[in-house]
């Protein structure tokens, strides 16, 4: 039930490939273009951030591994455009029609970019689900980790933190639940917490007895310890 993107704690990746602090923001021109096309297409309003993350996660493990970062974005975008009916498979091969598109009035114009990026898209929402946990309280994460609404669906509880005992460090208010939102099942906002786990709770050989990992986890991922 794992997906390839859920790699926290994995062994075997080797050293970090460091770059100088002031390396160009986009190593190749097409990187910036890929980012910009993806953001601009997002403004057509046919998907949300959870849907777009899940699209990248649904790449085959083989593609996810061999693709560079922005290749994953492009592959996710191509998949979404077709899946949402914005483009057809014929369009992608260049055999499509070029008539007026029903979404053309939603196109992000150059003069609207600064405002659109500055506006952002907050994820906090009012919720009728009461806050169940308080700061300092001990909790246990769900196990197995996984989407409980859609099999193999999007979730934000990494495998490495499944079934682990932690304590509530911060309360973030109520946020859109990705497990629901990524699958067009509604935003289903619920309380979100920063939960601290001792490294020894997560790893066989923690580096230091006092080290911790903190994850942001939704209330439905947690039970009282």
């Amino acid at each position: 039930m794992t997906r390839v993107h859920d790699m926290g704690g994995r062994f075997g990746d080797g050293p970090i490939n460091l770059e100088p602090e002031y390396a160009p923001v986009f190593a190749e021109d097409w990187h910036g273009r890929a980012l910009a096309v993806t953001l601009a297409a997002g403004f057509l309003g046919q998907w949300n951030i959870d849907v777009s993350r899940h699209a990248r996660e649904c790449l085959s493990p083989k593609d996810y591994t061999r693709f560079s970062y922005y290749e994953k974005w492009l592959a996710g975008l191509a998949g979404l455009l077709v899946d949402r009916g914005v483009l057809t498979l014929d369009d992608l091969t260049g055999a499509g029609e070029y008539g007026p598109h029903p979404l053309a009035d939603k196109m992000l114009r150059a003069e609207a970019v600064a405002t659109a990026l500055a506006k952002g898209g907050p994820a906090d929402r009012p919720s009728n689900i009461a806050q169940r946990f308080t700061i300092g309280q001990e909790v246990v994460t769900a196990r197995p980790a996984g989407n409980r609404l859609v099999d193999g669906g999007h979730t934000r509880l990494p495998i490495y933190a499944a079934g682990a005992k932690g304590r509530i460090l911060r309360v973030h208010g109520s946020h859109v639940l990705p497990d629901s939102s990524a699958h067009d099942l509604g935003e289903a906002p619920e309380p979100l917490y920063a939960v601290a786990f001792a490294a020894s709770e997560l790893w066989v050989n923690p580096e230091h007895p006092k080290d911790e990992v903190v994850l942001d986890l939704w209330q439905s991922y947690l039970e009282p310890a």
Binding site: G8, E19, G32, V37, Y69, L74, R156, D184, E207, L217
Partner: protein, 204 residues
Amino acid sequence: MPHDSHDHPHALLPPEPALRVKALETILTRKGLIDPAALDEIIDTYQNKIGPQNGARVVAKAWTDPDFKAALLEDATPVVADLGYYGRQGEHMVVVENTPEQHNMVVCTLCSCYPWPLLGIPPGWYKSDAYRARAVREPRKVLAEFGVSLPETSSVRVWDSTAEVRYLVLPMRPEGTEALDEEALSALVTRDSMIGTGLPKVPA
């Protein structure tokens, strides 16, 4: 939503990534769905306007203004928004303070979440499999690769950005900087020191 299937639309595009993005841009432009000038504008924004200099200004201000620092640690989002730093991928900001007892470090193991309005677009290593896989399990070995070694008395707290909350590390102010003003201090604040994989520069 995309499901697991054997027809991957991306396979219909040219294999070479630069051509692949060009092809998508061309198709979407011809259909009136994207404005190429808007793409230029987005690229310019993240290449030239929004970057780690924003976060460095926040850090330097926190080093010199105790009230600002207290407000920043209490609820960072409105405080940095007052300085003009708000927007996409920075809607919910939390600032975490390094102390002699605790070092903070930020990762996103599931994708590449990062505080864009304060730090810009993440560097390649932040998005790499190696960093995503290792930062949570062996942060001290990762830090060593960045040339950072922490005393045994310091704990490490790694923040895995699994929601829409974005974290910025407030590094410790280097010693010997008492005489420096906010602008001079901000020049010491590196991007990596605000991710927690580096320390601020010390004055020459």
